[in-house]
């Protein structure tokens, strides 16, 4: 398990991070127009993910840069700094710079360049602490020669492409002393000039201890848009030995001056799935069966004789069976083993435990458990957060473990298994468990709760899912910025799943993530409300009950409660919630579906149940807009549209109303 090559996950990391950068960019741009705190959160989260990923996958330069960016964002998020144009601009440049770094990472080239080092300094300066000059060593390593002669002649189209020689020369000026000589020989007469084309050229003498890579880095973005030569200023042995260290990628850095971005664009495909031949053969078989059934049913079209009714029914049943199998097989194509996510962790755990001086044994169980590719891709980050938190906060250092009578080596177990229609992933550590007192103290300090009196262990567990919550006194590049748990929950809930936490003081913590097998099709119960029809996801349903009128209590503030298995649960009247007319108003005339999400239960009042059905989920957001309490829509057999109830969303709405 220790010999897993981390490189195979680079592509996923790159894809995710580039998406994250896109999200950061659009959020920054929205922020520039005047945005809200949620935008800052989303930018912060994207930066945090990239930082974590780049540290995990061995790109320390990228991690260092994003760390500075994150620190700045943290100040904004905490309200210690107002967001202004200069910060937005700085962050946008960071996004650009990170994109460049990803391009270089994909090409296996050194990541740091003059721009990134400069940006890191700028960010650090903005945060208010300077990065020690030694940190810039990757770029500033002196070259053996005293300087360089750079011949730079942009192609005519470079300006229109948005690349600005002025900026490049400024960047060069940051590297050393410049003597710039403009070459005007190709500038046409005024009448013949297309002012948007570039006809200038430059001969630049750069003196100073600068590597060729640093110079090439400045021109990296434009090298296919210009003629460029970089020659040593004096005839000293030109030594452009690759001086940038610590990049895990293969050493393709030798001739870094001639780098290209050729393969940068190819990573922007829509993703692909590798499918086993056996799965495809199975599909072909099924399609063959379908064709046979169809031919059989076809016979009835010409001459239908009632005596052959039984045969028709048989044919239809066969059709239904084959369609179902075909559906399952097609869904199966998207199913991938969770091992591809789990395999990231051995390295992460090793690095983290070394860094923190802890001894950790990682156990991976159920790596072959399959789940939908979309779910798989999105569960990676939350799992990384949880694993990191477990090592950083959960597991203790050896001395402390010994003092509590435990072995030196802590155990972290990741286990995936099927339960019902769901996938369950458990992250179990045998550390100290949640520190109840510290969590309550922190929650009080952050104003999340008013008093620590009478708070149940369950509620303490809930507190750590609040945005901005963190008990770590010092922020590290591991965890403890308080980003994480709220993001974990949000990501999982967005996937239609839930996260639960169980702490055993002194004996460890268990996080349980429950995820749907697929996002494309859900099993649901069809319920009538007035003239409308709603689909309630089967995984959320505990049971359905018919209540008598006296089983329901009204409470002050307008809510209703009913008694279910010895506890009172709130009732959500779906007709009220969604504004449906002509629905049954009396509890005893309708049915209450008890549903559960995020560990709480409510009863949904509907008129009646119609039946169970598979629903192909259509996005409501894509076709209409987001509606609270609704997760999507589906099309029924008669062509009408039924809305799919978002149980977790309804419960959140309910508790918000209760709190109000």
């Amino acid at each position: 398990m220790s010999n897993i090559s981390i490189a195979q996950f680079h592509k996923v990391f790159f894809e995710e991070s580039l998406e994250g950068l896109d999200a950061m960019e659009s959020a920054l741009l929205a922020l520039d127009e005047g945005g809200d705190a949620e935008l800052v959160h989303s930018i912060f989260r994207a930066a945090h993910s990239i930082k974590g990923g780049s540290a995990t996958f061995g790109f320390p330069d990228m991690a260092a840069l994003t760390h500075e960016a994150e620190s700045l964002l943290d100040q904004v998020r905490d309200g210690r700094r107002a967001i202004d144009k200069s910060i937005v601009e700085l962050m946008l440049r960071t996004v650009d710079c990170l994109r460049g770094m990803f391009d270089r990472a994909q090409a296996g080239q050194p990541l740091a360049d003059a721009v990134s080092e400069g940006l890191k300094q700028e960010l650090a300066a903005a945060v208010g602490h300077a990065v020690p000059a030694a940190a810039a060593k990757a770029v500033a390593k002196p070259a053996a020669s005293g300087g360089w002669i750079i011949q730079f002649r942009p192609h005519a189209g470079m300006l229109a492409g948005g690349n600005e020689p002025l900026r490049l020369l400024r960047e060069l000026a940051a590297l050393g002393q410049l003597v710039v000589e403009a070459q005007l020989d190709r500038v046409p007469a005024l009448d013949a000039l297309d002012p948007t084309e570039c006809h200038l050229g430059w001969r630049i003498e750069l003196t100073g201890a600068v590597t060729r890579e640093a110079i090439a880095g400045v021109f990296e973005w434009v090298e296919d848009e210009c003629e460029l030569s970089i020659e040593p200023l004096v005839a000293v042995a030109p030594p452009p030995a690759p001086t940038v260290e610590a990049v895990a990628a293969p050493a393709g850095a030798g001739g870094a001056a001639g780098t290209t971005r050729a393969n940068a664009a190819s990573s922007n495909d829509s993703g692909s799935v590798r499918v086993g031949i056996d799965k495809i053969d199975g599909l072909i078989d099924l399609v063959g069966e379908l064709v046979i059934t169809q031919a059989m049913l076809d016979q009835f079209r010409e001459d239908f004789d009632p005596s052959r009714l039984a045969m028709l029914q048989h044919g239809l049943a066969q059709l239904a069976r084959h369609t179902r199998s075909l559906q399952e097989s097609v869904m199966g194509i998207r199913m991938l083993p969770i091992g591809s996510v789990f395999n990231r962790f051995p390295r992460l755990v090793r690095d983290l435990s070394q860094k923190l001086g802890k001894q950790v044994k990682l156990e991976l169980v159920g790596e072959g458990t399959e789940l939908d590719k979309t779910v798989l891709e999105k569960i990676g980050d939350p799992l990384v957060h949880l694993v990191r938190n477990a090592i950083d906060h959960g597991l203790e250092v050896p001395e402390k473990r010994r003092a509590s009578g435990k072995g030196d080596v802590g155990t972290l177990r990741l286990e995936a298994f099927h339960r019902g229609g769901s996938i369950v992933v458990e992250i179990v550590d045998d550390g100290a468990g949640l520190n109840r007192d510290a969590i309550i103290a922190k929650a009080l300090q952050k104003g999340l709760i008013k008093s620590g009196e009478g708070i149940s262990d369950e509620e303490v567990g809930e507190l750590i899912f609040q945005p901005g919550f963190s008990t770590a006194a010092v922020t590290t590049d591991l965890s403890g910025r308080g980003v994480g748990m709220d993001v974990v929950r949000r990501n999982v809930v967005d996937l239609g799943g839930s996260v639960a936490i169980k702490s055993r003081p002194g004996n460890g913590t268990t996080f349980t993530i429950t995820l749907p097998l697929t996002l494309a099709i859900i099993d649901g119960l069809r319920a009538a409300v007035g003239e409308e029809c709603y689909i309630v996801p089967l995984v959320s349903i505990v049971e359905s009950v018919q209540l008598s009128a006296d089983a329901v209590r009204s409470v002050t503030g307008g809510g209703e409660l009913f008694r279910f298995r010895g506890e009172y649960r709130p009732i959500v009247r779906l007709h009220q919630q969604f504004g449906v007319e002509h629905a049954r108003q009396k509890i005893e005339e309708g049915l209450v579906i008890v549903v559960e999400a995020d560990g709480s239960q409510v009863g949904l009042l509907v008129d009646e149940l119609i039946g169970q059905q598979q629903a192909v989920v259509k996005s409501l957001e894509a076709n209409y807009r987001r509606v609270e309490g609704i997760s999507g829509a589906t099309i029924l057999a008669d062509g009408s549209v039924a809305l799919i109830v978002d149980v977790a969303g309804l419960i959140r709405l309910q508790s918000r109303r209760k709190a109000a």
Partner: protein, 104 residues
Amino acid sequence: MGSKNKSDTPKGEVRVGMPADFRIGEVTDLHRQLRDALDGSAIVLDGGAVERVDTAALQLLVAFQHEARKRERALSWTAASAPLQDAAGQLGLAQILALPAKPA
């Protein structure tokens, strides 16, 4: 701010002001203005308002300078803002453009 070149017929003097955002998006417009300005015998350039400037803009000024010299037009600056000066200096064009001394 007086124009230094009033020796020719005053009628022949043309002033060309540069916009605050003097970048590639504006150069086509200014290109036209400068070509028209060559009809005058003396041309006064005002770069005092320039806040942002790019290579395309400076290249246009270079081409204009050449043309004006070729046609023996009197060319002068009333003002050149600091950003304009800096950019010209960075691109090695300050001397060619004969920019006035930096504003204090």
